[in-house]
Structures are given as C-alpha cells and as structure tokens.
C-alpha cells in the first residue's frame, strides 16, 4: 500500500474510472441525492482513501464502484468503468461474475456481514467455488494460507468456527481473507476497523496493509478517521454532501490541506482543557467487585474517586468493565462487595434502596440516543418527564424550565413538538443531555456519548458539556475509548483493563510517560496523523518485543 521500503512501488495502468456519478436514496416518500457528480480514478495496486462525515456518501461511492447500490438507492447518472467496461450498463449476470472474483468488499461490522449460519471457511471459499475459480479442496487450502498471512490464530482450524465464536478483530481479518480468496483486482474496504478497539485496530490495519501490498491489490479505503486513512492510502479524497471537496496525495493532504472543511475534520484533536486538581470528592467508589448473574467477575476490586465539579474520564477497550462501572454507580447492577459513598454519605448499592432524591442527583447519558429516547414521545414530553417526576413541576413553572433547558443545550424551542426521529444524531444527544439536566443532578455519567457522532458534532457536544460544567458545577464520569476526547475534557483519568484499574491520576500524569505497560499499549495504539506512524510503531514494537493484544 504505502511506500514503506523506500522504493517507489510501480503503479499499473488505470483499473477503475468513475465518471460523474449520481446516486439517490429513497426516504420520506421521495428521492434524495446522496452522491452528486463524483469522479474518481484508480490505478492497479493503488489505494485511495475516501474520507468524510457520515452522510457524505463515501460508503455509497464504495458500493457504486462495484456497480451495487443498497436496496432503496439507485444510480441515476454516470459511469463506472472497471478495466475498461462499464459496470452500470452490463447485464446483472456479468456483474455477478465480476463481484467477489475481481472486485471484493470488506464491511465495517464483520459480525453483521458474516452469515451467522455458516462456518467461516465455507463463507471464505464460497465465491471461488461458485465462480468455478478453484476446486473446493484447493480453495480450502488457499483460505488457510490467507488466514495464516493475516495472522489469525490457529489458521488450520479457525475456519471451522462460526462467526459468533471468534472476536471482532479476528472476524475483520477473516473477512479480508474472504475478499482476497479470488485475488481480486480491487477491494473496497468500508470502515473495516471503526468498530474495533484501538489496540486491536493496529493489528488489523497492519494485516490488511501487508496483504494488499503482497498481492498488489488496488483498494478503496472508506473511513471517517483521517489518522487511519493516513496509514493506509496513497491518495486521499475528501467528500462532503456527496461531492468531492478535494483530492491529493496523502502526505500533501496532511501537510497542506487546501480546503477549510478539510482542516475542520480534525478540529477535535486540538480541543484541550487545562486540568484542575481538587480534593473535594462527590463520589468515591471503594473496592467494588461486580458480576453479571453467575458469570465471571466484570469488575474486580475497583476504587475510583470523582472530584466535585470536575470530569473523570474512564478509558479502556471493550470488555474492560467501563460500562459495568456505570451500571454499578447508577445501581442498575448492585455491586457484590465494596462500598460507594456519594456526597460523603454511603450510597445504597441497589437502585431499589435509593431514595427518589438520590436517584435525581445521579443521572446518565448513553452512547446511542436512538435507543435511549422513546421514539413516540415529543422532545417536550421527554424533557418534562423528569421535571414532573423528580421536582413536581407543573403548568407555567414546568414550561419555563423546559425553555431554560432548551436554551442551555443551545436548541430552539421550535424543536419541542418534534419526535426524536426528526432530529439529527447530535440534536438527539443534546435532548438526552437536557433530560439529564432537568433533574438538577450533581453527577452525570456519560457512557461513550460522543462515539456515534461525527468529528465536528463531537466537538460541539464536548464544548457544550464543558460550558455546562463551568456554569452548573456538575461532575462528570466520562466513559470513552477515545484518547482525543480525554484530552479535550478530562481533569482526571482512570485507565481500566479486564475489570481492574490499571492507573489513575491527573490527566497530565497519565498521558505523559512513563506509563504503566497497558497504558503505554493503549496510548501508542491511537493512530496519529503522521503517515509513517504505523510503520514506526510496528518496528518499535518488534524491537521492544511488546506483547501485542491479540485481535
């Protein structure tokens, strides 16, 4: 993919040429444009990164490059020349013969894109066998070879597992093996590492990069993460609202982006807050151990202190117990042992034993506002509920408070009679925030509240949260896996791994070396904008022999 050896890799002739592509999607009883006149071209062995916010049309373009649209979408104009032949005007049968064999696809969430009913090996070799490219035996042994190249554990036997029996990182690599099975000329990677933890992401990125290089495969790499695309792509194309913003070689794009919009894409990375130390703690968790019914312990002997009016960021990969910690604090999952004190008084461990007032003082905001908001309630009903329940506000008082809250979250009162479905992701998350604020809480637990949002919206949300903290003195427990977010908002940081606290302290202490071994692994795995980052990191890890977290 990238020129790592120092010798410029020879790029071949033109492989893909997309001209004036227009795609429309059907929703709300009419057709909306998704892609509006995009051109792109790709040479053999070249990797093009498509980057943009959600809704920019990058995935749609990736699929259109295979002559495919999702159900409910249609290509209205343009041409997709693959190896000189227009994919859009050929018969479905001919397109089918190209797909899987000469153009392949790797999806974001392998867990959903693998068929749960079949073993990995059967799915890996399916195309090669169906298209008559290889015999079943030959395809099987080739698949095992690919598993080995992609550093999957137990390559001989992993293919006999079902998708739910392997981890997310392994599944993502198995999907890459499936795409490689027929040695295609072009692979479309659609956010292949977005759903993974940073520590796993490094492994998968390295595997993908190596195999694409080995077979000189051309690729379209779709992502919203500039730092990731910087490692993978020779060239980057920035998209917005279905149109090209700019296109340039990776290094040039990173050092000198021509467009203002491109610069705003990594704005959140510059957001930073000076930390403040305080010894006045609102919440202190002491030696808490918790487990889900009859299973292994998810939290082991965890002690955390939350300073009043400040932010504690809890970081760690999935499975580290971050979200369980939130459930323990809210009392949804009563701790098995240990104690929690809130405002210097002991806090009953179970939700059922807490008074209404205690419940009011600790509120929670979730990662996905879609599942946290009742789709049939209007914004007004959603915000009014805690006002009535906790504070008993009625009539004018209630309405005045709702208006105040809307003002706090910087939204217009005209949104009050809308339903959640009519709002954007960022707006929905603000409504969740308003609902939490309505209870006048002293502590808000934010569980990955910005992970589902685009960079720019993330920045707005984080700025809003910080402003509210200054004005209202509310404390936050901020659960996240994103180190940039930690830099932006935290006073103190707690690093968690496998249910235990690895390290905790002031932000600067944790984020500057020397680190605990796991913190080092976590921090060094966060992609940086430098296009040589991955190469350097892998080389360094190889030298130091750092145990890498298995994907």
């Amino acid at each position: 993919m990238k020129n790592n050896s120092g010798i410029a890799r020879e790029k071949g002739t033109d492989l893909l040429q997309v001209r004036d592509l227009h795609v429309e999607g059907f929703s709300d009883e009419r057709w909306h444009p998704i892609v509006r006149g995009v051109d792109l071209s790709l040479k053999r062995g070249e990797v093009l990164g498509l980057i943009g916010e959600s809704g920019a049309g990058k995935s749609t373009i990736g699929l259109a490059a295979m002559g495919y649209t999702k159900p409910g979408c249609r290509i209205t104009q343009g041409s997709v020349l693959f190896d000189g032949v227009d994919l859009l005007s050929m018969t479905e049968a001919r397109r089918r013969r190209l797909r899987g064999s000469r153009i392949a696809y790797v999806a974001q969430s392998a867990a959903a894109w693998f068929n749960p009913a079949h073993r990995l090996l059967d799915q890996t070799v399916e195309t090669a066998v169906a298209h008559g490219i290889a015999s079943r035996d030959k395809a099987n042994s080739d698949a095992i070879d690919l598993y080995r190249r992609l550093q999957l554990p137990e390559p001989e036997s992993i293919g006999f597992r079902y998708p739910h029996q392997v981890s997310g990182g392994q599944l993502q690599r198995a999907m890459t093996a499936m795409a490689m099975a027929c040695r295609p000329d072009l692979i479309v990677f659609d956010e292949p590492t977005t759903a993974l933890d940073v520590t796993t992401q490094v492994e998968v990125l390295a595997s993908i990069r190596r195999i694409v290089e080995d077979f000189n495969t051309a690729a379209i790499y779709v992502t919203h993460d500039l730092a990731v695309v910087a490692q993978m792509a020779d060239r980057i194309m920035v998209l917005r609202h279905g149109q090209t913003v700019e296109e340039a070689d990776t290094r040039q794009m990173l050092t000198a982006p021509a467009q203002e919009y491109t610069r705003t894409l990594w704005a959140v990375r510059k957001l930073a807050k000076p930390e403040v130390q305080t010894h006045d703690h609102i919440l202190s968790i002491d030696n808490v151990t918790a487990a889900y019914a009859g299973r292994v312990k998810v939290l082991v002997d965890v002690s955390i202190k939350v300073p009043r009016g400040r932010t504690v960021a809890v970081v760690g990969e999935s499975g580290s117990g971050k979200s369980t910690l939130a459930r323990v604090v809210t009392g949804l999952l009563p701790a098995m042992s240990g104690s929690i004190s809130f405002d210097a008084k002991p806090l009953p461990l179970s939700l059922k034993e807490r008074s209404k007032d205690l419940l009011r003082r600790i509120q929670m905001i979730y990662q996905s506002p879609d599942s946290a908001l009742n789709p049939r309630q209007t914004v007004e009903e959603i915000i009014a509920r805690p006002l009535e329940f906790y504070l008993g506000l009625k009539g004018q008082q209630r309405d005045r408070r709702i208006a105040e809250l809307m003002h706090m979250i910087e939204m217009d009162e005209s949104f009050l009679d809308r339903l959640p479905g009519e709002l954007s992701g960022g707006q929905k998350q603000r409504i969740c925030l308003a609902r939490a604020l309505a209870a006048n809480p002293e502590l808000i637990i934010c569980d990955e509240v910005t992970s589902a949002l685009d960079q720019i919206v993330q920045e707005e949300m984080l700025t809003l949260l910080m402003r509210l903290q200054r004005e209202l003195g509310v404390s936050y427990i901020f659960i996240t896996h994103d180190i940039a977010t930690v830099r932006a908002i935290a006073d103190e940081v707690v690093v968690m791994h496998q249910g235990k606290v690895v390290e905790q302290g002031l932000k600067t202490e944790i984020l500057t070396p020397p680190h605990a071994a796991y913190t080092e692994l976590l921090l060094s795995s966060v992609p940086e904008m430098d296009p040589d980052w991955l190469t350097t990191l892998l080389a360094r890890r190889k030298n130091q022999g750092i145990a890498s977290a298995a994907g």
Partner: protein, 368 residues
C-alpha cells in the same frame, strides 16, 4: 456446576465438548419438563370445564321419565357420585399409567374401554393429517421460497391472492365448494346455466371439469379399507385442509425470508456474486427456520385437533367427530381423553418446533 468444576481440572478438549452438548440438552430437557407441567395444568382445566358442563350422563341416557332412584343408581355405578377432586385424581392417576378408563357406555359384562373407542378414530385422524402434511408443508415452503425470490412479481401476487382467498373462506365453505365442483363434473351439461352459455364455452367448461378426477365426496372408510383406497377416499378432506393451511405457512415462509433479505450478510452474498436462488436458499433460509417451524407446528396441530368441521362435511370418521358425539351423549371419559390427546399433540408439536429452532441456531448449538 459440577460439570464446570470437572472441566476446570481437565484439559481444553473435554471442556469444549461439554460446553457444546450441555446447553442444548439442558434446554431440550427444560422444554420437555415445561411441556409436562403444561399438560398437567391442562388436565385440570379440562376436568373442571367438563365437570361444569350442564346436565349429566345418567340423566341424558335415561331420559326425562327416569326416576331419581334409577338416576342415582346409574351415577353410583359409573362413579359420578364421588367428589370431583377424588374423581380427578383417580382419572389422572390411571391416565399416567396409560389406562384411559372405560366409557360410560360400558355395562356390567360389556366393558368398552376409552382406548379401544379412540384408537381407530385417532388412526384415521393421523392418517388424514400426515397425508395432508406431506403435500401441504413442501408446497407451502416451495411457494413461500419462490414468492420471496420473485417478490412483487406477478407470480408473488398471484400466489398471495390465491392463498389469501382460500384462507379467508370458512373451511366448510371451501369443502362444499370442492364437493360442488366434483358434482358439477357430471351434472354441469344439463343445467340451465350451461344452456344459457354459448356452446363453445359450455363445452370447454365441461371439458375442464372432466379433467378433475372424480374424487369421492363421501370419505366413508372403515378398518377394512385398503391403504390406497383410504388415500383415495380421504382425498377431498385432504385437499380442503391443504387449501386452508397452505396460506398461513406459505406467507410466513415468504415473510421470514424477506425479513432476512435486508440483513447485511445478504448484501455481502450479493457482493460476493451469488445467484439470487443461492442467496435465498443458502443465506436467508437457514436463518429463517425458527419462525417458519413455529407456524408449521401450529398448522400441523390444527390438522389433528381442528378438523372436526371438515370431518363432518365429508363424513370422515376421525377423532373430532367422536369427541362431538361423546359431548352430546355426556360420555365424559371419552371427552376427557380426546381433549387430553389434543393438548398433548399441541404441546409435543410445539416442543419439536422449539428443538428445531435450537438446532438451526448455531449460536445455541455451538456456543463460544
């Protein structure tokens, strides 16, 4: 718990095997246990419901002119004078040992057991049910798969319309219409209606009718009827039942598959260049079995417990008719036995459906 402790000391392999077998076997045993509990509860409901029915066997048999003494004597003879709780436990106790008891129609020296009354009727009912299921289930699955494959085409609409029509009519209406069709085969030419039509039309209708085999409209059989004769005579009720149940199963098959077709892994199969038929059969269907099997089980249960109307129309001697007759004559042991057989059928078929759902779910069959 014990298995876990043992597995921890053993090496990796036995752990894997244990983990693979245990949850499924456990679930199956659990369902079986629930089934037995349900059956027990149902037996109480059946018994109480029948005990609450107005009138009793003695009065119904002896007629209105019977003296209270003769009624009491007969009640004592068949045990109706005992308290209900005692009667229930003696009934369920014998039932558990496979003794269905004696019919009230038994007299001293002439014992008629419930088992010997029900057995031939149950055989007839099962015969009809199996015969119908063998046609209807593959037909429904096939049509459902094709309708899903060619969804929104004229074929899909035609199948949907036809099946919706047959399911919308009451079953006795379908039965009589079919019987009418068979009768018209011989009589159409002479009707006023036929004479009012143009000759060519009347002739072609007559010809079409004559293509239909002359199925017997009365399905009168007995235990001497040879096998193929039995099939031939049961054809009309079987066709009627097929028309009634195909729609439900076919529509569920179609809906379950179409539901799966919006999954990301179906997009993946398309992007791997799979043919539509392969996508439906290999990628969608294996994940759609659970809802389909549930509906199939429901309809098969109907074939055994719900066919009394069709039996009456075609005078087919099945369990349904037997039960209705027994209710009329207040022959309580027969009614109770029929009701319990019906309940057991329902529970058993649903149990099988559950097991198939588990067996087709790799998450349950192959845990992590």
């Amino acid at each position: 718990m014990l298995a876990k402790r043992a597995a921890r000391t053993a090496d990796g392999a036995p752990l894997g095997i244990r983990m693979r077998v245990n949850p499924v076997a456990k679930t199956v045993l659990q369902r079986l246990g629930f089934g037995l509990i349900t059956l027990f509860v149902v037996s109480i409901i059946i018994f109480s419901a029948i005990a609450m029915l107005p009138g009793d066997f003695a009065k119904a048999t002896l007629g209105q002119s019977a003296t209270p003494e003769t009624v009491a004597a007969l009640q004592h003879e068949i045990g109706l004078d005992r308290p209900p709780i005692q009667r229930y436990f003696s009934w369920i106790g014998k039932m558990a040992q496979g003794d269905f008891g004696s019919s009230f129609a038994s007299r001293t020296g002439y014992r008629r057991t419930v088992a010997e009354i029900i057995a031939p009727r149950l055989y007839n009912t099962m015969f009809l049910a199996v015969m119908t299921a063998l046609v209807a289930v593959p037909l429904a699955l096939g049509l459902g798969i094709l309708a899903a494959l060619y969804r929104n085409s004229w074929f899909d609409r035609l199948v949907n319309t036809v099946t919706l029509t047959t399911i919308s009519f009451p079953e006795f209406f379908v039965a009589y219409m079919l019987a009418f069709l068979i009768i018209s085969r011989d009589t159409f030419a002479g009707t006023q209606f036929a004479e009012s039509l143009p000759v060519w039309l009347a002739v072609s209708i007559n010809w079409t009718l004559n293509v239909v085999p002359k199925f017997p409209t009365l399905a009168n059989i007995n235990d001497q009827t040879p096998f193929w004769e039995h099939v031939w005579r049961a054809a009309m009720p079987s066709i009627t039942l097929t028309l009634v149940i195909v729609a439900h199963m076919m529509r569920m098959t179609r809906a379950a598959i179409i539901n799966m077709l919006s999954s990301p892994y179906i997009d993946m199969a398309r992007l791997k260049g799979m043919r539509p038929m392969v996508i439906v059969l290999r990628h969608a269907l294996p994940n759609a079995w659970a809802p389909i099997v549930t509906v199939v089980a429901f309809n098969l249960a109907y074939l055994i417990v719900g066919v009394v109307v069709v039996e009456v129309v075609f005078v087919y001697p099945g369990v349904g008719q037997l039960m209705v007759d027994a209710v009329k004559s207040r022959d309580v042991p027969v009614v109770q036995a029929c009701a319990l057989v019906f309940a057991a059928t329902y529970i058993l078929l649903n149990l099988i459906a559950d097991i198939i759902s588990i067996a087709t779910n790799p998450r349950l069959l192959h845990p992590r």
